[in-house]
């Protein structure tokens, strides 16, 4: 059952222009759905329209097929978690969490029970009487979460809730969020610019850029089969090289790079919308971890410029005739040095074609 539908949702601001450009989305009940994209792509604005804090310029928003486009935020039965928590500073933790229940005129005894249960779920049991300015950032975030969940909303909306936390805390809270979602199964819309976060937590991801959706899919699809050049650039460490289609047949398509090198790949390894016509320009995605340093044969040759050791892998930049390529090799493999002449090989099965800009 579709819990949330966005139809041609558009938002234009007087000075900034069209921030959200005709977005269509269907989010299923119980899904953990992420809006992913760089700053300014319109993801927060979209979330705020879903919540009712912004009014769309045009388009519709439906909760369970009911049009709520112009409903006030307090009528939508949502839970919203803000980036900077937005806790009520003059109230204790318990009162903060109880706020939504008190608005709904839940009985005092029920309020007490549900608040205690909610705090227990976010591992803050016992902190009921604490003042919010005495809590750490991570604790404040969990209070905000408890406050949003205790009212049992139809939709949980989170606006970059982890960006103000340090790295370790971010990972812990990420895991906690995932667990909470699994136990509550509330339909969740999550906004972030962090792709690792998005891929780790989501059932499905929508990648946004400049107000438009570039791709919607499960994390594996987004990562391995990017639909556009932007998605390919944004996700993972990808080298997107310009090439032209030199030859097509039923079983293979041959692409030619700017240095003349050619590569044959399975014609199914392409994004929708890429037409296989000889002479057509395409972008060839070579992921950094699928390029290998080959001793003998390799499609490209170049010079190692920079080597960074990051623990499990080494990242290198190799300067070739087709551009500077990012390469990731496991630390256990032979260690390249700056200045080495190397050849790079690629397994054709990992190659993916996207359209040319």
């Amino acid at each position: 059952m579709t819990a949330l539908t966005l139809e041609a949702l558009t938002k234009t601001f007087p000075r900034a222009g069209k921030v959200v450009d005709s977005i269509d989305l269907r989010i299923e009940e119980g899904e953990f759905f992420t809006l992913l994209g760089p700053s300014g792509c319109g993801k927060s604005t979209t979330l705020r329209m879903i919540a009712g804090f912004e009014e769309p310029t045009s388009g519709r928003i439906l909760f369970d097929n009911v049009d709520v486009t112009y409903d006030a935020p307090n009528r939508r039965n949502i839970g919203f978690v803000f980036q900077n928590y937005a806790l009520f500073p003059h109230l204790t933790v318990a009162r903060n969490v109880a706020f939504g229940l008190q608005v709904r005129k839940v009985s005092t005894e029920q309020v007490r029970q549900r608040v205690a249960a909610a705090l227990e779920e976010v591992q803050l049991a016992g902190l009921e009487q604490a003042r919010v300015d005495q809590l750490s950032g991570g604790q404040q975030q969990r209070v905000a979460l408890a406050r949003a969940l205790v009212i049992r909303p139809k939709l949980l909306l989170l606006d970059e809730p982890l960006s103000n936390l340090d790295a370790k805390l971010r990972e812990e809270t990420r895991a906690a969020l995932r667990l909470l979602h699994q136990s509550s199964r509330v339909t969740t819309v999550y906004v972030t610019h962090d792709q690792d976060e998005a891929m780790a937590m989501s059932d499905r991801i929508a990648v946004l850029h400049r107000g438009k959706i570039h791709q919607v899919g499960i994390p594996e699809d987004i990562y391995e089969r990017p639909a556009t050049r932007f998605v390919a650039d944004f996700i993972g460490r990808n080298n997107v090289l310009d090439a032209t289609i030199s030859n097509t047949s039923e079983h293979a398509v041959v692409v030619r790079f700017v240095d003349g090198a050619e590569l044959a790949i399975d014609p199914r390894q392409r994004a929708a919308g890429v037409t296989l016509i000889p002479g057509e320009r395409v972008g060839v995605c070579l992921r950094a971890e699928s390029l290998q340093l080959a001793s003998g044969n390799g499609i490209f040759s170049g010079v190692v410029e920079d080597v960074e050791y990051t623990g499990p892998v080494r990242s290198c930049v190799v300067r070739t005739d087709v551009g500077n390529l990012q390469v990731e090799i496991p630390s256990s493999a032979a260690r390249p040095s700056s200045g080495d002449r190397v050849r790079l090989a690629i397994s054709p099965a990992t190659v993916h074609l996207v359209g040319s800009p």
């Binding site: 919540a51 804090f53 486009t69 112009y70 006030a72 307090n74 608005v103």
Partner: protein
């Protein structure tokens, strides 16, 4: 399209509409009425405007020049004293420093009329110091007396220096020692460090202080009145009005208003560009301990003498309050003292009535100011609508205008019935005085409430709404508790100012409902300094009570609710 957005827009549009109407009726409209009166009224006309710029044609041009020059001089003198005191008390640590820091702010509690009178009685003709000095040096009685422009400058300097003191002190507290240390490490001499590092850092504070002092000085009426300086614009307005030449009074009012508004715009632009300067207590700049005993003694003496000097006027008021009326003849101080003045305060029906009148009028005005100030602060801080910038200026306008001009505006606007006076003529009634206080002091509530509002994260209100609260529920349970200190602070200041107000009251009151400042004025007319001072003491005590109430609030001024 559902009814949701229409209903929400209707209610917020309605509030904005009401505010616009109120601002038109009581602030902007009266200003326009004064302009009309300046063209058509008695003694007015376009030629009067050109006379301003033609010094040969007499009084008006001279008075404008007089006001401008006195204001410029006031800026210089107040700036020197204020900055000097700020550096003295913020940079070094020495015995009695804390006491001096408190005393230095006492002149803020000086009541408008009685305060200036205290200056006259201390330094003017027949005053304490001229008498003492003439006895000491065997000169004529008036040799050391201060009168005329020097009298006005003296009052301005010793009452307006807090504008500089507060801003410079705050700037010093927030500044970093390391900048000066960097200068020294690069080889600068102390003089160079002060002129090239410290002074530029203090520039925003000095500019803010200068603008405030200039605007205050242009509005000044009581000091020129009591020191016999006719050639200032405020005096010319009142004189023309009392002569029945409302047109001429309006002409001068319009010119004065234009100057004040120009400075208001400069001040707001400067404030916005230079960032928001809150008097925060963050950033501990260390004071230097003074080791040399000679230096230490010098500092203690200088600071103590300055502080005593500054509190003399208030001390004089308290002293006079115990003096017998008429017992001050040719001597430095009154000869007889009594408690009768205070007893009379509570037993004499007309004195007591004056106190009650002022309290009533101020309370009425503040009730209205809270509504207008709170509504406009919220609407301007939280909503987007066309004409917001105009409303912002309109709300702050009465704060910039001299009290004299506000009074003239109300006279010209409400001399005949209008919708805003519910179809009645307001001039000559009880209501016009609280109205004047309401107009003059709403900006105080607006300002302090706005300051509080900007510190409250918008997300908090959105969070409350997302949890199901209606706008009103969220406002009551979340916004108001966080706002109330700013709101109450502004309201208390407005109340205190209302009780002491003189310059507008003198043009608007009716004898039937005499407020406190008029009662003082009447007593001074008969040289009943004792009675007048006892009434003045009430004003001072009121300020003290408010300060004590507000003291614990200022401790948490820097909390940002994020």
């Amino acid at each position: 399209m559902g009814f949701g957005p229409i209903r929400k827009q209707l209610s917020s549009s309605f509030v904005i509409f009401l505010l616009a109407i109120a601002l038109w009726g009581y602030v902007v409209g009266p200003l326009v009425a004064t302009f009309e009166q300046s063209i058509t009224g008695n003694g007015g006309g376009l030629t009067e405007y050109t006379n301003f710029f033609d010094l040969r044609h007499g009084a008006q041009g001279e008075s404008m020049l007089g006001s401008l020059i006195i204001s410029a001089l006031s800026v210089i003198t107040s700036g020197l004293i204020g900055a000097f005191l700020a550096v003295l008390l913020k940079r070094w640590d020495f015995p009695l420093r804390r006491v001096c820091e408190v005393l230095v702010l006492v002149p803020i509690a000086l009541p408008p009329l009685m305060g200036v009178q205290a200056f006259v009685l201390l330094y003017g003709i027949g005053g304490t110091f001229p008498q003492l000095l003439s006895n000491l040096f065997h000169t004529s009685k008036t040799a050391f007396a201060v009168d005329g422009i020097s009298g006005v400058l003296l009052v301005h300097t010793l009452t307006m220096y807090p504008y500089f003191y507060l801003t410079v002190a705050a700037a010093l507290e927030q500044s970093d020692d390391s900048l000066e240390e960097a200068a020294y490490s690069l080889g600068a001499s102390r003089f160079q460090a002060w002129t090239r590092v410290l002074l530029p850092m203090l520039t925003p504070a000095l500019v803010a202080g200068a603008l405030l002092t200039f605007m205050s000085s242009m509005s000044s009426y009581t000091a020129p009145l009591l020191f016999h300086v006719d050639q200032v614009m405020t005096q010319q307005i009142v004189i023309a009005k009392l002569n029945g030449q409302l047109g001429l009074a309006s002409v001068v009012s319009v010119m004065l208003a234009l100057i004040s508004v120009a400075f208001l715009i400069v001040l707001r632009t400067y404030e916005k560009r230079a960032g928001y300067t809150t008097l925060s207590k963050g950033g501990a700049r260390k004071r230097r301990r003074v080791s040399s005993p000679l230096w230490k003694t010098t500092l203690v003496i200088v600071a103590s003498i300055s502080s005593i000097f500054l509190i003399l006027p208030i001390a004089m008021i308290f002293l006079l309050a115990f003096s017998v009326n008429g017992s001050w003849r040719a001597a430095p101080l009154p000869s007889q003292y009594t408690l009768q003045n205070f007893i009379g305060l509570f037993t004499n029906p007309s004195s007591w009535a004056a106190v009650v009148n002022s309290l009533e009028m101020s309370a009425l005005a503040v009730a209205g100011a809270i509504l207008l100030g709170l509504a406009s602060a919220y609407v301007i801080a939280r909503m987007r609508f066309r004409g917001k910038a105009v409303m912002d200026i309109a709300v702050m306008l009465p704060w910039a205008l001299p009290g004299t001009v506000v009074a003239i505006n109300l006279i010209t606007a409400f001399a005949s019935p209008s919708i805003f006076s519910l179809g009645r003529v307001m001039v000559g009634t009880f209501a016009i005085v609280p109205l004047a206080y309401f107009v003059r002091f709403s900006p105080l509530v607006f300002r302090s409430t706005s300051a509080s509002l900007t510190q409250i994260d918008v997300g908090i209100e959105e969070a409350a709404r997302s949890l199901g609260a209606t706008w009103w529920y969220a406002f009551r349970q979340v916004v108001l508790p966080l706002l109330y200190r700013g709101l109450a602070g502004g309201a208390l200041l407005a109340f205190v100012d209302g009780v002491g107000e003189f310059v507008a009251t003198i043009l608007l009151y009716t004898p039937q409902y005499r407020p406190l400042s008029i009662a003082i004025n009447d007593e001074l007319y008969y040289a009943n300094y004792g009675t007048a001072a006892s009434l003045g003491v009430i004003q001072v005590l009121l300020v003290l009570v408010v300060v004590i109430i507000m003291l614990p609030w200022n401790e948490r001024e820097t909390v940002t609710y994020r």
